[in-house]
Symmetry: C2
DNA sequence: TAGATTGTTAATCGATTAACAATC
DNA sequence: TAGATTGTTAATCGATTAACAATC
């Protein structure tokens, strides 16, 4: 029964991966980037864990979901593990990203250094303010939202960032999906509906402050 | 032994509340705000849950951590429940907030509507660019970072938002803590260390995109 | 070899769901 | 009363931790 167990090749999704694990994968990647900058060639689950407030067992278990990346007695080689995590997260490639809604936040995100650093390139922005359309912000062209479908298709944009007011978010989501994007990052404080097969992540910055507020009020 | 069980008054922290529960509390609050805007006076755990992709049991269980807010046969009265959640989150009051680091993101957050809507008032901003100091952005005064301690104390600022580059984040965190803030919202992509008793929430926007990327690449 | 550290199994812990008596 | 919906208990499910043989 256990004749030809396929050990080395973990093909995409045999077991479904908990969201928390994927999130920590990003944390590991970020920490590895720091470690490399500090001149480390290898690291260990203990180091990685203690820097992030996790147990060493947790780190090893998380990575074990995806394969065997460590070396007993040695630890993990930083560049190697970084490569593996990027491959798993899908950031071993460049993603073309569109931003819709050029209020304060949308405009800021067009120039957000952290996106470029991790392989996300904002290549188009959309708004309906005639004063902005046709201009470039942070070197990125601003288009009228009516041209979204064409521009998104032509530029092979696969991820969309929604920074419009809450009441416009669903409409914009529908537009982006119709234009063929695969995933949406939604900053509007509403739950948007999307077809199955499309991915979605929601970020509500006020919620983060609320979590902080709770913590402050209820700490012992 | 079970004589004088204290049933009605759930005093702060008997059992420690899972983070996930507190996060959903914010989601409930947001959804209740929408429901009220749509003209609903009451709602149910089923409605609330299905709008957020949760089971009704989950909603009731989450709320039960904090008390009995519902009415059997009727459901939850929206304004009542909103009030309770705000009280639990600590957003039944106004918080004075400072932002440190006026790059793209910091500047944008100074005018972020969502913060004000939930009771967070950005009352001071700090940078070290002489071109910005003394000016007002979105009506908020910009100070030199050297004056942080005085300004933060005088304005009774209890929450700090860090939007400086990664390498400056720890220094800024130390400054804010020394000035007497109780909580930090950190947008720099590093783990910052803070004394016990101080609260911290970290947001790395690139991580959110990485989670999206993973989802897109690994969906079935 | 001795020391370090992995990947993985078993034991623990915690969170979620299902079910239902109690209540309006 | 009948229908709706709560708060809560018990059962299930999943994630975390501890421990350790295997390996460099």
């Amino acid at each position: 029964m256990s004749q030809a167990e396929d050990k080395s090749t973990k093909s995409p999704i045999e077991v479904s991966i908990p969201k928390a694990v994927v999130h920590r994968l990003s944390l590991y990647l970020r920490e590895l980037q720091h470690l490399v900058r500090e001149g480390n060639e290898t690291t260990s689950s203990t180091t990685l864990g203690s820097r992030l407030g996790l147990t060493d067992a947790r780190v090893r278990k998380d990575l074990a979901y995806f394969g065997q990346f460590g070396h007993p007695g040695i630890g993990y080689r930083c560049p190697e593990l970084m490569g593996e995590i990027k491959r798993i997260l899908g950031t071993d490639r460049q993603w073309q990203v569109a931003i819709v809604g050029l209020g304060n936040l949308g405009t800021a995100l067009m120039g957000h250094r952290g996106f470029a650093d991790q392989g996300f390139r904002v290549v188009a922005a959309f708004d309906c303010d005639p004063g902005k359309i046709g201009s470039k912000i942070h070197g990125i062209p601003v288009y009228h939202i009516d041209t979204l479908e064409t521009v998104v298709r032509d530029a092979r944009i696969k991820l969309g960032i929604i920074t419009v007011p809450a009441k416009a978010a669903q409409t914009v989501a529908d537009l982006l999906v119709a234009a063929g994007v695969d995933g949406l990052l939604n900053f509007a404080p509403v739950t948007i509906s999307i077809p199955t097969g499309i991915s979605k992540v929601g970020v509500d910055l006020a919620i983060e402050l609320e979590q902080l507020s709770f913590d402050v009020v209820n700490r012992s």
